[in-house]
């Protein structure tokens, strides 16, 4: 053991600043991807449950393909290869960020996009990869939640005079949501952990900053341990929230 630890240097100056920046980027990319993945996941789930064969097959292929291939490969695909299939106009538009990002608007004296959020093609491709990957899992979880509600609930709701959509809205979805929310939260947790992979594109997230500190300040062990503790803190807070949610809102349903 001839390795000398420099814990104090982690918490001041450049390393502390870098870790904070990385933490902010991780939170930003996870939040944006999570919101997009929720929307996309719900859409895919709805497509899966429609009676149209084409939609069903499409969403089945979508979920199976994106669930069974590694996220890293998908990230490489989106960043290195997607411009071969995306139309050139969209590609140019995406590269020319300043033409469509809603201006460097200021909030509390900070430029929102320049200082608070580092938007670039790497960031956007990272968001797309995380979104698509997570939405496949979310779609499966929502579907499982809705299928776990017995079918006669819907039939009973039709029998008392509710329409199909009303039956879903007032009878099926309230029960399904209660079942679906804990797995969705743990999916959010997975998303935060998976977001560490976008460092391969050079998105300056927590993991990327830890490798920066490793190479610039020669403190690999300290940097990765601090990153570990940050990820662990996020996970423990979220899993504590799940436990609390389960205690308060889960009712034991007997069928």
């Amino acid at each position: 053991m001839d390795y000398t630890f420099h814990w104090a240097r982690m918490f001041s100056g450049e390393p502390a600043q870098w870790m904070w920046d990385g933490f902010c980027t991780t939170i930003q990319i996870s939040t944006i991807s999570l919101v997009c993945a929720m929307i996309l996941g719900v859409i895919i789930c709805i497509l899966r449950m429609t009676p149209f064969k084409l939609f069903k097959w499409f969403s089945l292929a979508y979920t199976e393909f994106f669930r069974n291939t590694p996220l890293l490969v998908q990230i490489f695909f989106w960043y290195n290869a997607s411009h071969f299939v995306i139309p050139k106009a969209i590609n140019d538009w995406m590269n020319d960020l300043y033409s469509w990002i809603p201006g460097p608007f200021t909030l509390f004296g900070h430029h929102f996009v320049g200082e608070w959020m580092l938007l670039n093609v790497e960031f956007i491709m990272g968001v797309i990869a995380l979104t698509v990957y997570t939405s496949a899992f979310i779609a499966e979880e929502i579907r499982a939640g809705i299928f776990s509600i017995p079918k006669n609930q819907l039939e009973a709701s039709r029998a008392v005079g509710l329409s199909f959509l009303q039956g879903y809205r007032y009878v099926i979805l309230p029960q399904a949501l209660r079942i679906v929310i804990p797995p969705l939260i743990s999916q959010a947790l997975n998303l935060i952990k998976n977001s560490s992979l976008v460092m391969v594109l050079g998105v300056t997230d927590l993991m990327y900053q830890a490798t920066q500190i490793e190479s610039y300040h020669a403190m690999p062990f300290e940097a990765f341990t601090v990153a570990l503790l940050i990820y662990l803190a996020i996970s423990l807070v979220v899993s504590f929230c799940i436990t609390m949610y389960n205690k308060h809102f889960m009712i034991q349903v007997m069928y």
Binding site: F77, S196, F221, S235
Partner: protein, 238 residues
């Protein structure tokens, strides 16, 4: 589209070499698909035993057995695998005093990482059994350890199969992370060919993704058969 480039590189994706010799990956230097598969299979093998130990320790009533297992499972489940790989990559030389090869480092990390998840699966599998099983086993004169080994675990293992295979599939996908430390496996060959061929990124990454998909598909379809086979004798009145 230049699918010919992707397909002419198929043997390179699969085995990491264009002149393939079956002795090469196993004896000298595991590469390409073979490296991915070896990482996944040995990883899940190690993870099973680590997870079995961790899961059983976690269910213990003695705090000095339980607390280490709880800490292990919670810490590992709360961190990204990439972070574990980097962390151990820099920690291992500090412990052992010599540089560790990336292949064995990642292999160790896969075992430790998946072990924590398998630990939870073991716990859930045992908890899903009715309490009366253990009580009946004890009343027939078996010790706690004997009852665990002969009565509880065989049934729990059958409960575990679907989630265990899920974990196997996740691990197979996670082996792609070894590419970041430079281990030559399926993803790394993709990166190499992508750097070499400038016009065929799309075809290359789709081919790599399809190869992973194929492995995972084979695993899940085999697991369904295994599950059906092992639950032949299960009571059907549930």
């Amino acid at each position: 589209m230049h699918w010919d480039i992707a397909f002419s590189n198929l043997d390179y994706f699969l085995y990491g070499t264009t002149s393939f010799d079956w002795r090469f990956p196993f004896i000298h230097n595991p590469e390409g698909l073979v490296a991915s598969v070896i990482l996944a299979f040995f990883g899940i093998f190690g993870a099973f035993w680590i997870g079995l130990a961790a899961g059983l320790m976690r269910m213990s009533r003695r705090w000095w057995v339980k607390i280490p297992a709880v800490c292990y499972i919670e810490v590992i489940r709360g961190m990204p695998l990439l972070l574990l790989i980097f962390w151990f990559y820099y920690l291992a030389p500090v412990i052992t005093g010599q540089t560790m090869p990336a292949f064995s480092t990642t292999m160790f990390c896969f075992m430790v990482f998946t072990g924590a998840y398998v630990g939870e699966i073991v716990r859930a599998g045992v908890k899903a059994l009715p309490m009366g099983q253990m009580e009946a086993a004890r009343s027939t004169g078996l010790s706690h350890a004997q009852a665990m080994k002969l009565i509880i675990l065989p049934q729990a293992l059958r409960n575990m199969i679907p989630s265990f295979v899920n974990q196997f599939v996740s691990l197979t996908k996670d082996t792609s992370l070894a590419a970041i430390l430079g281990v030559i496996e399926l993803t790394r060959t993709g990166i190499q060919v992508d750097n070499r061929e400038t016009v065929a990124s799309f075809e290359i990454w789709i081919t790599i993704a399809c190869l992973y998909f194929l492995i995972c598909f084979i695993l899940t379809s085999y697991s369904r058969r295994l599950e059906a086979q092992l639950s032949r004798y299960q009571a059907r009145d549930r």
